[in-house]
Structure formats: structure tokens, C-alpha cells
């Protein structure tokens, strides 16, 4: 579990590289920082408040304040692992979920309001939904199957992404100029590191080096493989070329789709889930790029659509002979598919409404958007006072006394 926790933590910097490669050069640092700062701000929010709201005993809707400020969290066992390790492991999930949202609002959101947003969002939106599914809340009791966070992480982040993208509006250049990725190798690097980290995300969700972890591990390998194959073929058929950005996206979509199913389905079913998940996300991406919705890095198409396909197929392909927990519709338990649908709808509804409230409350105190001029210059210089690719020509050293 120590290693799994470290692997999930590295997924957030990996996401920074994935996203950072997809934006324009003048917004590279800003985009990557949106992921990196979640490691700090969401991490601390989780330790002080979020964990307690998500995992301490409470009602079906929300935990309690019993473990705030890590009160009462010591080295006693929590299931199979020490309680404090459980807090850390779950914290890495809260961090990456909040960071995922940033893909929808790159190249235009001011950084201060963003920090406020991810911090509040992890407490107000993430913690309750984590409680519903994993913390003893109503969806878990209903029997919703979400092995490693298809609904809690991906559908949740995607619903929030759609809302905040719509509230912020499109970038000034969106649909007016060609906005193309500045560094596709970064994106491939990010996708590769995400895959690596995801073995900790899904494998670790078995909370032990056991048979369930082995199944989740193997499924986390083969499902994205299948997505990559189907995606490449779709690319080939449509454009006669297999694209690198497409391959990186396919890997993420496959990982998202297998997340809820990882420890519940057979490896052959995992391959089916990965393969099937490619098409809806592929065509959602094409549609989105022509729409007026500037979900800039396609959080909804990758994580929302992929997450829903995965969550529903979990309800179809779950096999008790593999997981010891329950069967899906294909194995005679039609009810499971209905429960999965309820989990999806409830997550989207709560996440969308609560995210809207959080964003609007922040908008009362802050201007959310960078000015048109700042967008033109780029958010690296205007928000951070740094450049990703500075050349140093014409830079004059400023001495500590303010003189030159």
C-alpha cells in the first residue's frame, strides 16, 4: 500500500505533463501548476477536513467531523492497513480528482480563484461523493460497484469540469484561431506515467497484495491496450493516420473505463470494456471540438463518457466467480445495472449543482477570468511571472535593493 500510494501521487504530476503538452507554449507552466498545486492545497484540505467528511462515521449522505485535523487517526488498523496510511492513500485520490477538472478551464482562469476552487471543491463536492460510495454512505449500501473510482473520481470530475467550463465561457481564441498542442511528447510522457500510476490506483484499491489486487492489476494492463487498438483503428479509418495525441488519449480513456470494473470483471471482460469504451469517447471528442463548449482538454469526453461506459459495463460484466462480491446483468443480476445507473445520475447531479454553487460563491469575491490582454500574453507570464521556454535574451538582473 505504501508503493500504491506513491504511485497514485505521481499520477498528478503526470496529469500536469499530459495537460501541459496540449496547451499553447505561453500557458504551459500555468496548466502544469494547476495539477501540481493540488498536491499541496487539496492534500492539506484532505488531511484537515476532507478525510473526516468522507470516511468518518456519519449519516448516509456525509461523514462527520470526528476525524477533522486527523483527530483520532493513529496507527491502529483500518481494514487491512494502518489508519494513517488509509488517509494518505485516499488523499492521493482527492488530489488527482480535483486536478482533473483543470483540463476544462486552461488558458483563461486566474490562478488565485483556481486555488480557492480546488480547495473548496475537494471538501464540498469530492468528500461527500467519496462518502456515498466508499465511506459507508447510501450508494455503497445500495450495492453500487465502483472498484477504484469510476464515479467518485472520473464522472464526478467530468461533471464539475463541464459546469466550470460553461460558467467561465470559451477562451477568446476558441473557434477563431487554430489552438494546437505545444509539446506532444509531454502528453505521451504524461499518458505513460499515468498508466504506471494507475496500477497503484486500481491495484491498490484492493487494499492488500492479494488475489483481487492481481485481477485489478491485470485488467488495468489489458483494458487500455484494447482501447489503444480500437482507437488507432478508428483513427486509421477516419484520417488514414494514427495520431500520437489520439494514442495518449486512448490510454487515458481505457484506464478510466476499467477503473470502476478493475477488481470485479474477468480479464477478457476487461478487454471488452477497454475496446468498447474507445468509440463513444472518440466521437464525443470530435463532436465537442465543433461545439461551443470549450472543455479545452476534453475532460468530459475522456473522463465523463469513459467513466460512464465503464460504470455501466461494470454492472453488466461483473462476475461473482472472479470477485466474490456480486454478478452483473450478463450473469443474471439485472438489478446491478440499475444500481450503476443510479450511482451515475446521483453523482452527476450532485457534482454539477454543488460545483456550480462553489464557482458562483468564489465569483462573488474574485474575478474568475484573466483579462483579454492577459490571455493574449499568456498565463505563464501574467499569473506566475515565469516562462516555460525563456531564452534569457534581454533579461536584466534585478539586485536585492531594487536597483539594476
Amino acid at each position: 500500500m505504501l508503493i500504491a500510494t506513491a504511485m497514485v501521487l505521481v499520477m498528478t504530476p503526470a496529469l500536469g505533463f499530459f495537460y501541459g503538452g496540449l496547451v499553447r507554449a505561453k500557458n504551459t507552466l500555468n496548466t502544469m501548476m494547476m495539477s501540481f498545486v493540488a498536491l499541496g492545497f487539496v492534500g492539506i484540505a484532505w488531511a484537515l477536513i476532507g478525510y473526516s467528511l468522507a470516511f468518518s462515521e456519519g449519516s448516509g449522505l456525509l461523514g462527520s467531523f470526528r476525524n477533522t485535523f486527523l483527530n483520532g487517526v493513529r496507527l491502529e488498523s483500518h481494514g487491512t492497513i494502518p489508519h494513517i496510511l488509509f488517509v494518505a492513500y485516499q488523499g492521493t485520490f482527492a488530489i488527482i480528482t480535483a486536478a482533473l477538472i483543470s483540463g476544462a478551464i486552461v488558458e483563461r482562469m486566474r490562478f488565485g480563484p483556481y486555488l480557492t476552487f480546488v480547495t473548496l471543491w475537494s471538501i464540498v463536492v469530492y468528500a461527500p461523493i467519496a462518502h456515498w460510495v466508499w465511506g459507508g454512505g447510501w450508494l455503497g449500501k445500495l450495492g453500487a460497484l465502483d472498484f477504484a473510482g469510476g464515479t467518485v473520481v472520473h464522472i464526478n470530475a467530468a461533471a464539475a469540469a463541464l459546469v466550470i467550463a460553461l460558467v467561465l465561457g470559451t477562451r477568446k481564441d476558441y473557434a477563431r484561431q487554430a489552438i494546437i498542442p505545444q509539446n506532444v511528447p509531454f502528453t505521451l510522457l504524461g499518458a505513460g506515467l499515468l498508466w504506471f500510476g494507475w496500477f497503484g490506483f486500481n491495484g491498490g484499491s484492493a487494499f492488500g497484495a492479494n488475489a483481487s489486487a492481481a485481477l485489478a492489476f491485470a485488467n488495468t494492463m489489458f483494458a487500455p491496450s484494447a482501447t489503444l487498438v480500437v482507437w488507432s483503428l478508428l483513427d486509421l479509418m477516419r484520417t488514414r493516420k494514427t495520431t500520437a495525441v489520439g494514442a495518449a488519449t486512448a490510454i487515458v480513456v481505457g484506464l478510466v473505463a476499467i477503473t470502476p470494473a478493475a477488481g470485479f470483471v474477468s480479464p477478457l471482460s476487461a478487454i471488452a470494456i477497454g475496446g468498447i469504451a474507445a468509440a463513444p469517447s472518440y466521437f464525443a471528442l470530435l463532436w465537442r471540438a465543433r461545439s461551443r463548449v470549450d472543455d479545452s482538454l476534453d475532460v468530459v469526453s475522456a473522463h465523463g463518457v469513459g467513466g460512464m461506459v465503464g460504470a455501466l459495463l461494470t454492472g453488466v460484466l461483473a462476475e461473482k466467480s472472479w470477485n466474490g462480491v456480486g454478478d452483473g446483468a450478463l450473469f443474471g443480476n439485472m438489478r446491478q445495472l440499475g444500481i450503476q445507473a443510479i450511482a451515475i445520475v446521483a453523482t452527476i447531479a450532485y457534482s454539477a449543482v454543488a460545483t456550480f454553487v462553489v464557482v458562483k460563491v468564489i465569483a462573488l469575491g474574485f474575478n474568475l477570468r484573466a483579462s483579454v490582454k492577459e490571455e493574449g500574453i499568456g498565463l505563464d507570464v501574467t499569473q506566475h511571472g515565469e516562462e516555460a521556454y525563456s531564452r534569457g535574451e534581454g533579461a536584466i538582473l534585478v539586485h536585492a535593493d531594487g536597483g539594476i
Partner: protein, 122 residues
């Protein structure tokens, strides 16, 4: 013939290109340059090191035009490249002694007239 050299803001390049296209100016060369024309420097900090960046990214356009195209070209750049703040750039109009089109060996006015506007060459 004249050579129009314009230095514009990179974030305004697309609008300038669109305006030039509308003015039917289609042959041009651009390069990324850095320069300084009196705008306030931007301050950047890397760990303990603070620097003032005096040179700003700009785009340099070079457009060879026949005389009657000079005015529409300049007007397009003036209107599309302007934000009203210091740092919008400059336009220089230079005399040109001779122009050759390498593909055909055409000279002067024929060489700066886009092929779409001539009788089709073949």
C-alpha cells in the same frame, strides 16, 4: 515596388493575417523576433533570481508589394495590429530595387503579383 516590414504583437498575428487576407495581400514571410520599443519590461522571478525582461516576443512580417498595394497593406496592419498600448509595433515601408521570382525568373511587378491574379501560367 516596396517592401513592407511590420513588427507586431504575436497575439495579434492572426488578426493581422486575416486583415491582410481580406485586403488580398497573400504573399508574405514571417519570423519570430524579440525587440524593445519603450514598453514596460516584464518582471520574472526564478527562485531567488529576479529579472526584468526588456526584450519582448514580436512577429516580423515582410511583404513585397507593388506600389498601389502599399496603402491597403499598411491600413490592414494598422487596424488589425492595434491594441492602443505601448508595444503594438512599427511598420516600415522600404523602396525595393529589384525583385525576382525564383520559379519563373519573372522580374519586378510580375514577380510580386500573386499567381492567382495573373492569367494562369499553364
Amino acid at each position: 515596388m516596396k517592401l513592407v516590414v511590420a513588427i507586431v504583437r504575436p497575439e495579434k498575428l492572426n488578426e493581422v493575417l486575416e486583415a491582410l487576407y481580406r485586403a488580398e495581400v497573400t504573399g508574405l514571410t514571417i519570423s519570430r523576433v524579440r525587440g524593445h520599443g519603450g514598453e514596460t519590461e516584464q518582471v520574472e522571478t526564478y527562485r531567488g533570481t529576479t529579472v526584468k525582461v526588456e526584450l519582448h516576443d514580436k512577429v516580423r512580417l515582410e511583404i513585397g508589394v507593388s506600389d498601389h498595394f502599399v496603402e491597403p497593406t499598411v491600413r490592414a496592419i494598422l487596424s488589425a495590429g492595434r491594441t492602443g498600448e505601448v508595444g503594438d509595433g512599427k511598420i516600415f515601408v522600404l523602396p525595393v530595387e529589384k525583385v525576382y521570382r525564383i520559379r519563373t525568373g519573372e522580374e519586378d511587378r510580375a514577380a510580386v503579383t500573386p499567381i492567382t491574379m495573373e492569367e494562369s501560367p499553364a
